[in-house]
Symmetry: C2
Subunit: 337 residues, 2 copies
Amino acid sequence: MLLEARSSADVVRRQLRCAHDDHAATAGHLRAQPPSHVHTLARGSSGCAAAFLSYLLAARHGVPAGALQLSALTLHDAPLQVRGSLAVAISQSGQSPDLVTSMQRLSARGASTLALVNQMESPLAQACLWRADLRAGPELSVAATKSFVASLVASALLVSHWRMDAAMLKALDALPHQLDTTVADHEIDATVRALAPVEHLLVIGRGFGLPLAQEAALKLKEACGMHAQALSGAEAMHGPVSLAGRGRTALVFATGGPELPGLIAFADHLRRLGTNVVLAAPPQIRERTMTLTPADMPELDAVPAIRSFYEVVAALATARGFDADQPPHLRKVTLTL
Amino acid sequence: MLLEARSSADVVRRQLRCAHDDHAATAGHLRAQPPSHVHTLARGSSGCAAAFLSYLLAARHGVPAGALQLSALTLHDAPLQVRGSLAVAISQSGQSPDLVTSMQRLSARGASTLALVNQMESPLAQACLWRADLRAGPELSVAATKSFVASLVASALLVSHWRMDAAMLKALDALPHQLDTTVADHEIDATVRALAPVEHLLVIGRGFGLPLAQEAALKLKEACGMHAQALSGAEAMHGPVSLAGRGRTALVFATGGPELPGLIAFADHLRRLGTNVVLAAPPQIRERTMTLTPADMPELDAVPAIRSFYEVVAALATARGFDADQPPHLRKVTLTL
């Protein structure tokens, strides 16, 4: 897992060299016939990446986007009215029947379909009108890392080309360098020390940083056997904050942009309740446990952040006696309906 | 909390006596100008009810529906293209500024707006084009129960009238009787015994039953201090199942319809991995720990199911030394932005 996570910068370099044409072509179609809505279809790590794509589309581009309920299509064969909308599936393997069946049904009902996929020969890629190759290379570890990073970058490439967003395209070019900025050993040690004895915790993010918290929580489950649940700082206030207090732990990802002040205030609130707070934050935040290297725009902060956090996950797995490459009860390709 | 939960049948009787006109009027507008999409806005228990509304709309009515990212509107003031769509906010108090601000912004951008709310004088009700009273009466316990049941029923009333669904309207009429069917004491005891020592667990549902699992997990957090996380059975296979195994516990809500066989199979899978499985299921499932009284159609199974589960939550809170009416760190009205 760690070797693959560490190849993220190379993966993104390859994407930025080869993938612009795919996304520019799709973007041309989307500008010619703008969809009213974007439905995302994905599970696991790809589901977290799909949440990132949705947030980018909604908050930066103004196109409403969100996850579609897969079982409504697979179990109920719902007569969904999707004419004029775009359905985007994200998948490493492109094999799960729920994604393939759903995209076929959405296509039959008039949606345009796009696959962001790491296996261009997969049934999912074949089922879609348009496809873009994640170019993450073979991912051998069961817990996906570099293909998650590639999915975030593919999402940002698609949105950048769609809105002809020169600033975001420029910020994407700076990512490989930021992905090579390693997190300091003493910060990994401090984070691992704080998290190693923990059996369950809240992982907090917000806005562009919520998908980062979701992916981090998933990896803490898969690779470290910790029951981590991701929530937005605002949603946590409506109930889950009752879990805070002495003897409890929370991991807060404070990414940049208008989300930052609220996330720092929420971390303070948790700390005042007696919670053991692990704060991942940019260099200017003094109370941080772990430094997040900012991207050139806060919308992309999640990309270098998750790369750094994979270092923590690997060290934490070892500290807790787990093999990060062999999570219990999981196979590389999961087939669900 | 328990007294209010036990008044659910009366609340629903009152709704069925008084609320048809509100929903029929809104439904008339919606049939005259069918929205292309429904955006839901809600947090906490109301967020779980909103997930139920979205699933009903998508799976039974074919209208795509899902949660809108509130922070995209509040923090980023995103230029969301929502003309021709319907935004539905669900709230007990109708006071949280994020809901009020978001509905105002969506309305200004051309969406129709509807509030399902328990306080008709609240700023949220005032900010919306249409409103329907949940008629749950004053809810004094911090952890909402009867207003959650009322939100499910209001959602089903809206969808029934919109699609002029006589079968669903008839099934709704049977709910008060089903809500008065009490769960047997020995089943409450068995469930409490199994869950009392547990600090964290997965709560599994699917389709129409996923919002039930979400609300159950929220109440286990708020009232019992347990870190419960709700997931669909399919999503759990893509990573979180690595938390299964000896010493772990899962609570599975197996509601009726096409979801049932997969949920029973998933419970079996968890049990084979050594997990301690608490199964809430209809009477015909022999391995159940707790019996779920079915509604007259599986789409509505969540309504009597959550009423029964509130009995478990109250008993479990007491067994764990918590006061179910006073969750730590929460107030009755939560204001977030």
